[in-house]
């Protein structure tokens, strides 16, 4: 891909500006959930204030914390950030497109999770262990399920490069396929499970034996905690962006010659995220959290639907 000013500008926006919106999305979801529970709720900007507050606080590690504990937040954050640079949000035309395809993005998120799970075990508390153990249990289903999503869309678009898949879905008139519908379900289950949203995990609880993500990061404080929280917010927005670029690709630009259309695309993207946040908030308040061992069934269904979609596509390839 040729390096032009516009391309560079769009990649830079994607890299440095769009991630800044992640706390806002989180604030919106929290606000919606609070309103639905008839509370007033904090301002949508509260996550920014929280993060800055945490960033300025002291780090209080346990005496036996190792370098894994100290470096994990940076690794988790930078890995998630790298993934964010490569997922098309408002433009499918990114300079760094060729660096990683969808499978590599799944792999990178697995790297971040590897660091997080190790960080949870570093201090040697039972809460940390329980969190890591459950996180890997969830990921043993969520990761194959994500890969089934990758398989399905890759077989429709004949590439695993996310931007090209998005391009394909923009230009291809929307065809209702059974496999796409099944994949949609799979991706939703993965989105919920990977981000620790309500039926699987509750991002708002502490001191509860059902927590997963919070249990792993229980010993973290200060700037380390801020980085992990920010990475989690980024990850949520990341999954929603993947969802948007696969299933709601309208409004994304594939031609970078006009910056004005890029601005419009950015606005449409923000709108998509806000609507996504609204739906997630409503969904989260209307279901109850499930027991940990039900999660495997929940995700198992997602995985099986994904596999079914892939099998359907494999079979239909010969019929055409």
């Amino acid at each position: 891909m040729e390096i032009t000013f516009n391309n560079a500008l769009i990649q830079t926006t994607q890299m440095f500006v769009v991630p800044l919106l992640a706390p806002l999305l989180c604030g919106i979801i929290r606000k919606i959930k609070a309103r639905l529970l008839r509370r007033r709720g904090a301002s949508v900007l509260q996550p920014y204030r929280d993060l800055w507050k945490l960033l300025c606080k002291d780090v209080v590690p346990a005496p036996n914390a190792s370098w894994i504990y100290r470096s994990a937040p940076y690794i988790i954050f930078s890995t998630t950030w790298v993934v964010f640079c490569l997922v098309p949000t408002f433009s499918t035309h990114l300079l760094l497109n060729g660096a990683a395809d969808f499978i590599a993005l799944v792999g990178l998120l697995a790297s971040a999770r590897f660091a997080l799970a190790l960080a949870g075990m570093d201090i040697g508390t039972s809460f940390g262990g329980i969190g890591s153990s459950r996180e890997v249990m969830i990921s043993t289903f969520a990761e194959p399920a994500t890969l089934m999503v990758v398989f399905t869309v890759a077989m429709i678009a004949h590439t695993t490069q996310l931007s090209l898949i998005a391009d394909f879905f923009i230009h291809e008139p929307l065809i209702l396929r059974i496999s796409t519908a099944l994949t949609l379900t799979t991706l939703i289950t993965v989105l919920i499970a990977e981000n620790g949203r309500v039926p699987v995990d509750n991002p708002a609880t502490h001191l509860e034996l059902t927590m997963v993500h919070e249990a792993m990061i229980l010993e973290y404080s200060g700037r380390h905690l801020a980085l992990i929280e920010l990475a989690a917010m980024l990850k949520l927005m990341l999954y929603m962006s993947i969802f948007a670029c696969l299933f709601l690709p309208f409004g994304m630009i594939s031609d970078t010659s006009h910056l004005s259309s890029a601005c419009v695309a950015l606005l449409i993207y923000c709108l998509k995220m806000a609507v996504g946040g609204l739906m997630l908030g409503v969904a989260e308040t209307s279901v109850a959290k499930m027991r940990v061992f039900r999660v495997s069934e929940f995700l198992g269904i997602g995985l099986m639907l994904g596999l079914l979609a892939v099998l359907l596509l494999f079979a239909s390839e010969g019929i055409k």
């Binding site: 346990a62 990683a100 590897f114 495997s296």
Partner: protein
């Protein structure tokens, strides 16, 4: 003088070293491992030269071996690639052993066999006729058996040696059949003649089956894997690393040589068989590994998993080759061969780490370790790199080969066969599951061993391992990163090898698109480890700079918080078995008959509550135990034959002769 000649000279020197150490062991203890190291480096250099000079093939016939056939030796692309893998692993094992073997209590039981082991592995790769091949193969098995039972005082090791010997003999018997069929009625045992021989479909299928048994039993294909987790841990760690990281690759070489090179064009059902076996092996291997608490057993089971991944790649390659798509076959084959290299790297690294932990603490059971990252920081770093590589995490090397296999799977809807259309996606989901479980398994291993608080006294007093061991681990770690970040160099080096096996090769990778990996020429998909690595580094540095510069950089130590209820006893930490409990509960219920027995005392009783997690090794219980009982039963009946009078023996001979004559008469 050709390279092959010099290679043979070095091999001769290694065999001579074995003989000399067997006689003068006491005086040469110090120089055996350095000698092996230099020999392997020389061999590595020769093989590397042969590999990189593209279509380099040399052969030699020695007046030894089978009558009228002679001893054929040949160095071609495939054998030189495996030669590079073997000798790199062997050189680093020898380097590691320079330090590690100082702790050895009975070194004279190891050093006479060690050089011969290295030499016999090299000889298998050079063999170009069935006889030489099998002799070298048997030599490799026997010498490694001697190494497995070197610590013979432990009963478990003797049993491991016994099981290994049985499986190895069984495997070589199967290979004997394979070569017998390949040689045809004329009995031409040279590989050249076998290549020219065209077998009928049925016979070729038979060769595939027996080769799968023969090479599979050595490599650890499910359900022939049972000896690996027994024998690999029993050997000293530098030998374990060779057996797990390198010797299993010789078996893969045998499979590739026979199926892709000697046997001619494949059919679709072969690949289905190989794919199914590969997929099952991968998932079962990593599930077994997940439930282990003995570190070396865990690593041995993870070898089984990786062999499964390699066979998935080979199966895909067979499928595409059978359907005349050489370019995609080349992609799958390159993925499989790259995984051969990668696995030999990170498995050696992890076994070295396991050896260092064993030396420092005397323990293989990870349940009693913990917190070693503070006592052994360098080993901890290298073990982390190994764990991340084996868990197939980008930007390290394990990911690249799995990525290529996934790309090959995604291209397989083009295959016309219906069986493959169903089996390939299933194998795809098994591969995805394997990757996720591998990550879980190594989080468990690393977290329990190196992180947390020490669970026993020895772990609090462990010392960092010696410089030689650290040096060899560092070298492999660097290579793990290099292969992960610059895979294109290695993919290009494999092109001639793959070309000779499947008749096509991947597009030339260097020079295009900033070192991105491209699966096929017309594909729009790519992966660039270098960009990912650089971006991750820059972003991490930027966030460190920003936070330390603009926010806060203060640190205040305080006791563990643990939600306000810290428990001072390290025994309350999560253990390896509690970590794997959710996975045990989900996957183990059916596959392993996992049960949890809780014995809770009544109120008022003073005895402790007891919790037991039971796992049944289904393969042992329902395959091997009945088999062993059957053999026992038959042999107890046949024992009568050993106590007959001479008259009866003569009668039996007579009847045997008569019945054979009848058979011959009926045959005509």
């Amino acid at each position: 003088m050709t390279i092959l000649f010099w290679v043979l000279c070095v091999l001769g020197a290694l065999f001579a070293a074995s003989t000399i150490t067997a006689i003068f062991g006491r005086f040469v203890i110090r120089i055996v491992y350095p000698f092996c190291f230099f020999s392997c480096v020389i061999l590595l250099g020769f093989n590397l030269f042969a590999l990189l000079s593209e279509t380099y093939t040399q052969s030699l016939v020695l007046p030894l071996g089978l009558f009228q056939t002679g001893c054929h030796l040949r160095l071609d692309g495939l054998s030189s690639f495996f030669g590079v893998v073997v000798n790199f692993g062997a050189a680093l094992s020898s380097l590691y052993a320079v330090g590690y073997a100082r702790h050895e209590k009975s070194p004279l039981r190891i050093i006479p066999f060690y050089p011969a082991f290295l030499a016999s592995m090299n000889l298998v790769l050079l063999a170009d006729d069935a006889f030489t091949y099998l002799v070298a193969w048997e030599l490799m098995s026997l010498v490694s058996w001697a190494l497995v039972v070197s610590h013979h005082t432990a009963t478990a090791n003797r049993q491991a040696g016994y099981v290994y010997l049985l499986m190895a003999s069984f495997g070589v018997m199967a290979l004997l059949f394979a070569f017998g069929i390949l040689a045809g009625p004329a009995g031409q045992y040279a590989f050249d003649a076998m290549r020219a021989n065209h077998l009928s479909g049925f016979m070729a299928g038979l060769v595939l089956l027996v080769t799968l048994v023969g090479a599979g039993s050595k490599a650890g294909l499910f359900p022939l894997h049972v000896w690996l987790p027994l024998a690999h841990p029993a050997a000293p760690s530098h030998v374990s690393s060779l057996m797990s990281g390198v010797m299993t690759k010789i078996a893969v070489y045998g499979f590739v040589r026979i199926i892709f090179d000697l046997l001619g064009s494949p059919t679709s059902w072969w690949s289905m068989l190989v794919l199914a076996l590969g997929g099952i092996t991968a998932v079962m291997g990593i599930l077994y590994a997940m439930f282990q608490s003995d570190l070396k057993r865990l690593l041995a089971y993870s070898t089984v998993e990786n062999i499964g991944i390699i066979f998935i790649g080979l199966g895909l390659s067979l499928a595409f080759k059978a359907n005349n798509m050489p370019l995609i076959a080349a992609l799958a084959m390159t993925g499989a061969l790259l995984h051969v290299l990668n696995h030999s790297l990170f498995k050696s690294l992890l076994f070295f780490g396991a050896g260092s932990i064993l030396n420092a603490t005397g323990k293989r059971d990870i349940e009693s370790l913990g917190g070693l990252i503070h006592r052994m920081p360098r080993t901890a770093l290298f073990f982390l790199i190994g764990s991340m590589s084996i868990a197939a995490l980008p930007p390290l090397n394990g990911f690249v080969s799995e990525w290529m296999t996934f790309q090959a799977i995604l291209l397989s809807p083009q295959l016309p066969s219906w069986g493959l259309k169903f089996i390939v996606p299933l194998v795809g989901v098994l591969l995805a599951l394997t990757a996720a479980l591998a990550s879980a398994c190594f989080i468990k291993a690393y977290g329990i061993i190196f992180l947390g608080r020490p669970r026993c006294e020895v772990a609090t007093e462990a010392k960092e391992t010696d410089g030689w061991s650290l040096l060899s681990m560092a070298l492999i770690s660097i290579l793990c990163v290099v292969v992960g970040v610059l895979p294109t160099l290695f993919i290009d080096a494999l092109a001639p090898v793959v070309q000779s096996m499947v008749g096509g090769h991947m597009p030339s990778q260097t020079g295009i698109n900033w070192l991105s990996v491209l699966p096929t020429t017309d594909s729009q998909t790519s992966y660039n480890g270098l960009v990912i690595f650089v971006l991750m580094t820059i972003f991490a540095l930027v966030s460190v700079w920003f936070i330390h510069g603009f926010a806060s950089r203060r640190v205040r130590k305080a006791p563990i918080w643990d939600c306000g209820f810290p428990d001072s006893s390290p025994i309350t930490q999560y253990s390896a078995s509690s970590f794997s409990q959710p996975i045990r509960k989900i996957f183990g219920a059916i596959l392993f008959r996992a049960q949890e027995i809780v014995d809770m005392p009544e109120p008022g009783e003073t005895r402790p509550a007891i919790f037991k997690a039971l796992l049944v090794d289904v393969i042992w219980k329902y395959l091997y135990e009945p088999l062993a009982q059957g053999v026992d039963f038959i042999s107890s009946r046949l024992i009568l034959l050993q106590f007959l009078t001479i008259r009866r023996y003569l009668m039996m001979t007579f009847f045997a002769l008569i019945s054979l004559l009848i058979v011959v008469a009926l045959w005509k």
